[in-house]
């Protein structure tokens, strides 16, 4: 299991090169709904990291961040991208 700082440093959004800590900070500093808050993070209209960002955004609303769940979701996404690039 990764420690807290390692998880906070994990990259979520490749487009804007944002890590978990920056995403949480951005979401906490806005009261905009998800679609708009997502654009504050990604600075684009793409949807590559949408699924994970929804998860983190919902955690903000819920009031508790499950850092293991975030790390797991990021790893899952990377594994999926790897499999897709291998043409599986």
């Amino acid at each position: 299991m990764k420690d807290m700082q390692e998880i906070l440093d994990m990259e979520i959004c490749e487009c804007a090169e944002k890590n978990v800590s920056q995403v949480i900070e951005t979401f906490q500093n806005t009261s905009l709904p998800f679609k708009k808050a997502k654009k504050l993070v990604t600075e684009c209209n793409k949807s590559c990291c949408r699924a994970i960002l929804i998860k983190v955004f919902n955690m903000k609303d819920f009031g508790r961040y499950d850092y293991d769940e975030i790390a797991y979701a990021i790893q899952q996404r990377l594994e999926r991208l790897k499999k897709l690039s291998e043409g599986e």
Binding site: I24, Q28, N29, T30, S31, L32, K35, K36, K39, N45, K46, S47, R50, A51, K60, D61, F62, G63, R64, Y65, D68, Y72, Q76, E79, R80, K83, L84, E88
Partner: protein, 500 residues
């Protein structure tokens, strides 16, 4: 029951801190939480738990379940998410299971599900599944199925047996088309197809009695929307359309329609009179038709990030409009006047950027004490006295176990919140008591209160507080609604005070 086997199982369960010493018989155990324990296997005697109804084995390292688990004759709810199963445990075929969460495994073989006739809820998300054949019995009771975050390309091979499914999540797969076989979804109410590679949709899709559809983040280029008589909510965000058209007979009771980032040049007008939310943000729309005034029930309109200069006067007729996002458009003076007349509760044009949330400093204390006058004007139990409030705020600032946050705009304190550490005998640990949440009148409806509360909640999480509590004036209906919407539950306790 074999008592030595029970003693052995009991010892193991106590070691896992799943039961306490007082549990005298396996018969008394109906629910077990064995999650997050790095378990690689369960003891052979596990089947002694014949009254077990719910079993949580999530986040372990399990590959299989022992054969004796066929003895769990009442097991209805099984959570094996985040383990290492490659084969769905065969024991489930013998049990009356109604709900299985098998998300985050490495499942390849789902054949055990073929005999699960009583299954109602199934989560197979994040398993790397690519080829999925009919994995359910023909006559099944499944209502909710989550297959998101897999690598499924073709849904035709299993859709036939999903006749009773009401909620189907297929998001984040690699589905390329919705074929005529989609008509098998006879009972579907919610369908999530977001984040796929869908290029084409067969006409059979438009005959479904589905209520909620998410088709966002696909590669649809051409679409003519029609029929879908029961549709309540449609999301098409992130499809780069070359052509998107809506026919008159499309979704007569539609309430929410979203086309964020869809390459649209035209403001489309669904014919439903029930529309409450329209989202056309981040497109290339240049004008809004005056017919927008027909949506008399509209609560939220989002047109931000377009090329709109003018707004029709009819917009001002939308009496129920609460939220209006219009930033990122080259709006002219007339358009700004229309918004002024419209006067929605929340409008991004009125929001100020640059409001920061930070820990209070000693130089903020006077402004904070003054700010409390806004709060005490509402709360009938208290009257404002600057000296008393400054003294209180200063003591709080200096006391260990207290936290104070301020919202600032251009160095001015425009909002605040405080939290003090208490010990709860009920929780057996520390909890946080939140107080003094207040935002200056002219900065309300900009989300400042939410940001203060979110930040304070994450501070409480860092401290490991078991609960956060607060008191709000019973006459302050805005505050009561605000806390409700943010997940605070009203307790049954009344607050009394006694002047010493």
């Amino acid at each position: 029951m074999n008592s030595s086997k029970w003693e052995e199982l009991k010892r193991w369960l106590i070691e896992q801190e799943a039961i306490d010493e007082d549990t005298s018989s396996a018969d008394y155990i109906s629910r077990l939480d064995l999650s997050c324990r790095s378990l690689e296997k369960l003891p052979e005697s596990f089947g002694l738990l014949t009254n077990l109804v719910a079993l949580n084995l999530s986040t372990n390292k399990l590959h299989f379940l022992p054969e004796s688990c066929t003895g769990l004759l009442k097991l209805s709810n099984l959570d094996i998410r985040r383990n290492m199963f490659e084969t769905m445990p065969s024991i489930i075929s013998f049990l009356p299971i109604r709900s299985i969460n098998a998300s985050g495994n490495r499942l390849k073989d789902l054949s055990a599900l073929k005999k699960c006739k009583e299954l109602r809820v199934l989560d197979l998300s994040a398993n790397g599944l690519s080829r999925v054949e009919n994995f359910l019995p023909i006559n099944n009771e499944l209502r909710t199925l989550n297959l998101s975050l897999n690598l499924i390309k073709n849904i035709d091979s299993f859709i036939e047996n999903l006749r009773g499914v009401e909620r189907l999540n297929l998001s984040s797969n690699v589905i390329e088309s919705i074929t005529k076989n989609v008509c098998s979804l006879k009972s579907i109410e919610e369908l999530d197809l977001s984040n796929n590679l869908i290029k084409s949709i067969d006409s059979a899709f438009f005959d479904l009695e589905v209520e909620i559809v998410d088709l966002s983040a696909n590669v649809l280029q051409t679409l003519v929307l029609h029929s879908l008589e029961s549709l309540d909510k449609l999301t098409l965000d992130g499809n780069e359309f070359e052509s998107l058209k809506i026919e008159k007979n499309f979704a007569p009771y539609l309430r929410e329609f979203s086309c964020d980032s869809c390459n649209l040049e035209e403001f489309l007008l669904p014919s439903s009179e029930s529309i409450e939310l329209l989202c056309y943000s981040s497109n290339k729309i240049t004008s809004i038709s005056k017919e927008v005034g027909q949506y008399t029930k509209l609560l939220q309109l989002d047109i931000d990030g377009n090329e709109i200069q003018e707004l029709p006067d009819t917009l001002a007729n939308l009496a129920y409009l609460q939220t209006f996002y219009a930033k990122g458009n080259p709006l002219n003076e007339h358009a700004k006047k229309v918004i002024e007349v419209l006067s929605p509760d929340i409008c991004d044009l009125n929001m100020k950027s640059g409001i920061v949330i930070e820990l209070a400093k000693s130089e903020d204390l006077k402004e904070m004490a003054n700010l409390l006058s806004v709060l005490f004007a509402i709360e009938t139990d208290f009257s404002f006295d600057f000296e008393k409030q400054l003294s209180g705020i200063t003591k709080l600032f200096e006391s260990e176990g207290s936290n104070m946050l301020v919202a600032k705009y251009e160095s001015e304190v425009i909002g605040m919140i405080t939290m003090q550490r208490l010990i709860s005998s009920a929780e057996g640990d520390y909890i946080g008591q939140m107080e003094d949440l207040v935002v200056k009148e002219e900065y309300r409806k900009m989300g400042v209160g939410s940001r203060l509360i979110n930040k304070m909640r994450s501070i409480a999480q860092e401290y490991g507080y078991k609960r956060i509590q607060l008191a709000a004036d019973v006459d302050n209906s805005n505050a009561l609604q605000f806390y409700n919407r943010r997940g605070f539950n009203k307790s049954h306790l009344n607050i009394y005070h006694y002047i010493v």
